[in-house]
């Protein structure tokens, strides 16, 4: 039995018209089955590109090289047709901005049904039943199925996105900053929801964020990215309490703590580069 659900070997992403520029530079990591792994990094560190490359949704201006193994199977070069089946069925993704991911002129019920229909051939009443089940799962009353996206709050919209992602019981859920646009109280609810679903449906989660607070709340393992490279990875406990890489240390010093005792230290990049060169 393989313990890793996903294995990525030597992934490099470059723009097609400038192959020398490595947006993601030779990274390798594994996702442990049933665990939540967070990728943290600043904007431009390549964390979203890494996530998109897993489900092969990178812009066609970019090329990715490297090997991907999903559940032991090599999915590096599988044809698009097969990948389409995997997307949704095995690997689902939710994004930061729920409003731009939903179609404003269709009801949410219809949109959820659409997601279910792609992978399952169901009768109309079964389809409806499944939709209500999914809404139930994410804590939205099923009579809201006839609502349009603009009638929902940001948190509710994100719940709809999660319902759509759950429609085929994926084994891997990729969440790209799903709570960044939300209020703290709503963020707390969505994080709880994701964590509960993960346990209930036995999923593995890859969670992308820039917020160390969120990492501390939800992750089992952490990958810290800086300028396209992985600078540190390990369990949450180790990385957050005993960071070994100077960048991780510097970044943690920038995070305001709720106790307010810590003095915020902006990153001194010159010093950091010197330390990293060693």
């Amino acid at each position: 039995m393989n313990k890793d659900l996903l294995e990525i070997n030597q992934l490099t992403i470059s723009p097609k018209n400038n192959p020398q520029l490595h947006l993601v530079d030779d990274i390798s990591f594994q996702l442990k089955k049933g665990k939540t792994t967070c990728i943290v990094g600043e904007s431009g560190s390549g964390k979203s590109l890494t996530a998109l490359s897993i489900i092969k949704l990178l812009s066609n201006q970019l090329s990715a090289s490297g090997k991907f193994f999903f559940n032991g199977e090599d999915i590096t070069n599988i044809p698009e047709k097969e990948m389409r089946l995997k997307r949704g069925q095995n690997i689902a993704m939710i994004f930061q901005e729920p409003m731009t991911s939903l179609n404003p002129v269709l009801t949410i019920g219809y949109q959820i049904q659409e997601a279910v229909k792609v992978h399952h051939n169901l009768e109309k009443n079964q389809l409806q039943k499944r939709t209500h089940e999914l809404l139930d799962l994410v804590g939205i009353p099923s009579n809201r199925a006839s609502s349009f996206p603009d009638e929902l709050s940001g948190g509710q919209r994100q719940r709809i996105m999660i319902a759509m992602a759950m429609s085929c019981n994926p084994t891997l859920l990729i969440a790209d900053e799903p709570t960044t646009a939300l209020d703290v109280t709503v963020q707390a609810q969505i994080l709880d929801l994701l964590d509960n679903l993960k346990n209930k449906l036995d999923m593995t989660m890859l969670f992308i964020t820039h917020d160390f607070g969120v990492v501390n709340d939800i992750a089992d393992d952490v990958i810290v990215m800086f300028k396209g490279k992985i600078v540190e990875q390990g369990s949450v406990k180790n990385v957050l309490s005993k960071p070994s890489h100077p960048y991780t240390k510097a970044l943690l010093n920038c995070v305001p703590d709720s106790a307010g005792k810590k003095v915020l230290k902006p990153i001194n990049y010159e010093k950091l580069y010197k330390m990293m060169a060693k």
Partner: protein, 268 residues
């Protein structure tokens, strides 16, 4: 005078019409009877979720929006009693830093023009004096003189926020209203901007009204906290007191939602 700005019983209502032809109106109270006073030289943080009325409050204090009821006093003077010319000169003392540095800088103006514009509007100094001021200010916020020739798109988010701060401070205001100035920035950049705001406060004896939804930042920057929900004041007090012994259920919920504090709740 201990309080630089005082507002009493501010009310602001927005009405919403529903449907194409129907006249059913929904009235939303963005501010209902909010009173606030800002102590000179201190930082007051207004916290709340989206829709709590915190930005409406900030904008009404500098009369960017007209309130329906209530009175605002700046340094003891009722703002409604001022003529428009007097209001203009009062506004020189109240400046604002906005959330989105991408949207609040004119993309077609060079940085030197962006920084000169407020000086021209308020008729300050001769051109050569203005240039001196601009150069001094751009260096003070951590950018270089070369940057003055550039356009906003040539800068990163953090750098743009520095420009926004320079524009606010070039008029030597007494009160700076910061509306979520670091929400759109990475944590590393956020830390830089917070340090910059703190050091500027010391140097120029500024008073800050700091609007944010991030309670972790509040702890670092604010002397007092003002918690709002649905247009109403929930509670206010010294930062330490609010954090250590919140009185209302809402504040408790907000504090419990701070990411990083919630590990205990999980069933691992």
């Amino acid at each position: 005078m201990k309080n630089i700005l005082e507002a009493k019983n501010l009310v602001k209502e927005y009405s919403q019409t529903q449907g194409f032809f129907s006249r059913t109106k929904n009235i939303i109270r963005a501010l209902s009877q909010v009173s606030i006073s800002i102590e000179k030289g201190k930082t007051l943080a207004v916290v709340g979720e989206s829709g709590s009325g915190k930005s409406t409050l900030a904008k009404s204090l500098i009369k960017l929006i007209e309130v329906d009821d209530g009175s605002i006093y700046f340094e003891g003077v009722h703002l409604d009693s001022l003529t428009s010319a007097e209001l203009k000169s009062t506004r020189r003392n109240i400046q604002m830093v906005f959330q989105d540095p991408y949207a609040s800088l004119n993309p077609r103006m060079k940085i030197k023009d962006i920084l000169e514009e407020p000086l021209i509007i308020h008729n300050i100094d001769v051109p050569s004096g203005r240039q001196k001021k601009i150069k001094k200010m751009i260096i003070r916020v951590g950018l270089g003189e070369d940057d003055l020739k550039k356009y906003p798109h040539e800068f990163s988010g953090g750098q743009r926020q520095r420009i926004g701060i320079a524009r606010a401070l070039i008029l030597s205001p007494k009160l700076v209203i910061c509306d979520e100035p670091v929400s759109a920035l990475d944590v590393s950049v956020q830390a830089q901007i917070i340090q910059l705001l703190k050091s500027l406060q010391k140097e120029f004896e500024l008073t800050y009204l700091f609007i944010t939804h991030d309670l972790r930042i509040v702890r670092h920057i604010a002397d007092r906290v003002f918690v709002m929900k649905e247009g109403k004041l929930m509670e206010q007090g010294k930062t330490d007191i609010i954090f250590n012994s919140p009185k209302t259920a809402y504040t408790k919920e907000l504090l419990a939602s701070i990411p990083g504090n919630r590990k205990l709740k999980r069933n691992k």
